[in-house]
Symmetry: C2
Subunit: 260 residues, 2 copies
C-alpha cells in the first residue's frame, strides 16, 4: 500500500507570528478562549444570525451610529458607550435571536481580521465547540492552522491549551501530522492540563485579570468543553453558523436534545 501523505495541523501562538506560518494552510481556526470566540460560539448556539467581527473602536462607533447592535470590549471590560462586551452570558438573551451583532474585542476579533486578509477558510474555535469542530476539521482533510489570539500579541496559556486539545484530536485521527515545535509544546501542555484546566490556569495572566473583574463565572463556562455543536465560519466578512447553513435548520440544535 502506498503511504498516504498526511495533512498538517499546526499551532501558532500569536497573531504576531501568523505571517511566519500562514502560507502553508487552507483552514485557519481562530481561538480566543477568554472570551471572544467562546462568546461567538454561545451567540450562534442561542440563535444569533450573524456576527460582524471588527478590529477598531472607530468602526464600532460608526456601526453604532448606523443602528447596529454593537459589542465592544477592551482589557476585559465593556467599552464606555456600549452595552455589551464579550461575556458569553450576554449572548444567551433570546432578544438577540435572528439578529446581527457587530463585535470588537481586545484580541479575538482583531485576530480574525488579521487572518481574513488571506483567502483562507476561517472558522471559530473554543472549548465550547471543541469536539464538533475537530471532527469537522478532520473531515475537511486540509492543512489546518490553529491560531491563538493570545493577549495583545503575547502568548497565552488558555488559547494554547484549546489549540493543543484540537490538535490532539486531529492527530489521533491519524490523518494529520505536526512539524512545528509550537504544536508539540501545545500538545504537551494540553496533556498535562486536561484533567483540571481551571487549576492549571490558576496563575495564568488572563485568569488573574478576569478574576479581578469578578468574571470567574465566565472563566468556568469558557473552560467547559463541548457545550454546543455550532461551527462559526467567516463568509464575506461575517460570521455565520456553518452547521445551521448546511442543515437548513431554523434554530440551533441543543446537543443534549438532539435526536439525530
Amino acid at each position: 500500500m502506498i503511504p498516504r501523505t498526511k495533512k498538517r495541523v499546526e499551532v501558532c501562538f500569536s497573531p504576531n507570528l501568523y505571517n511566519l506560518h500562514k502560507d502553508d494552510f487552507e483552514i485557519v481556526v481562530v481561538i480566543d478562549v477568554l472570551r471572544a470566540t467562546s462568546a461567538i460560539c454561545t451567540a450562534m448556539h442561542h440563535g444569533v444570525k450573524s456576527i460582524i467581527p471588527i478590529a477598531s473602536l472607530e468602526e464600532a462607533f460608526s456601526y453604532k451610529k448606523k443602528g447596529f447592535i454593537v459589542a465592544a470590549e477592551r482589557e476585559g471590560e465593556i467599552v464606555e458607550g456600549f452595552k455589551f462586551g464579550n461575556s458569553p452570558y450576554a449572548y444567551m438573551d433570546p432578544a438577540f435571536k435572528g439578529k446581527t451583532i457587530v463585535m470588537t474585542t481586545t484580541n479575538g476579533t482583531k485576530t480574525i481580521n488579521v487572518a481574513k486578509k488571506d483567502s483562507k477558510t476561517i472558522v471559530v474555535g473554543s472549548f465550547l465547540n471543541m469536539d464538533v469542530l475537530s471532527n469537522w476539521l478532520i473531515k475537511q482533510d486540509k492543512n489546518t492552522l490553529l491560531l491563538c489570539s493570545g493577549w495583545k500579541d503575547k502568548f497565552n496559556l488558555e488559547d494554547t491549551l484549546c489549540a493543543g486539545a484540537i490538535a490532539e484530536m486531529m492527530l489521533d485521527s491519524l490523518k494529520f501530522e505536526s512539524h512545528e515545535d509550537s504544536s508539540i509544546a501545545a500538545k504537551y501542555l494540553f496533556i498535562s492540563a486536561k484533567s483540571n484546566y481551571l487549576g492549571y490556569l490558576k496563575s495564568s495572566s488572563h485568569r488573574r485579570r478576569l478574576k479581578k473583574l469578578n468574571l470567574n463565572k465566565d472563566i468556568i463556562y469558557c473552560l467547559t468543553p463541548n457545550q454546543t455543536p455550532v461551527i462559526p465560519i467567516l463568509k464575506n466578512d461575517t460570521i455565520v453558523n456553518l452547521q445551521l447553513n448546511k442543515k437548513k435548520v431554523s434554530k440551533p440544535v441543543l446537543k443534549a436534545k438532539s435526536k439525530k
Copy 2:
C-alpha cells in the same frame, strides 16, 4: 516586616515578540541552545578572547576580507566560503585561544543583534552554563528577560526548556516572580522534560533538522547542563567572558579542576 517587591523573570519565545516585552527588563539573556549560544559558551570556556556577533552574511564576508577569523552558519550548515559554523566542537581547538572570532548564525547572533539595540545588559545562556548563570542573575537582582532565539522567529522547544530551567532556579530563590503566561508555560515544559531532555526533544523540529545533518553528537553535548562556569556578556558589541574579567584570571577555569 514590609514585604519586599520581587523582581521579574520572564520568558520571551521569539525575537519577533521581543518588542512586546523589552521595556520591562534591565538584563536580557539570549538563548540559542542548538547551537549558537552553546558554541559561544564553549569558545569562552576554551580560551577564546572575544566573539563579535553579527547578523548578516554581508558583514561576515566583509570581516573575512579584513583578515578576521569568521564563523558563518545558515540552516545548520557552514556557509560556503567559511571554515567554521556553530558546532561547539570547533571552538575547543587550542588554536583559537586568545583570539577574536566573528560569528553569524541563523538565529542566535541575529537575536543578540535584535536585543542590543536597547541599552540593556546582554548575557549569553545555554544548558552548558545554566547554574552559574542563574546564580549570577539572582545576585544581580534585576528584572530579567530570558529571550529564546527560536527558529527563524518561530517558537522552538529546546530554547524554551533552557529558559524554563533558568526561570525555575531564579523563582526558587524567592527573589523573583513571573507574570507572563509564556514564563508559566516554559516552566511547565521544563518540569516535564527535565528527566530526559533528549527523549523529550526527539520530535522537535530542530533536533530532526540537525540529526539529518549527522549532528547528534552536537545535540547531546548542547543538552548536557553545567559544563562550564563562563558567563559571556556583550560589551561594546563584543562578547567577552564576564567571570574572567572580574577575576582577572588569564585562562578559563575548568569546573572539574577548579580548586577555589
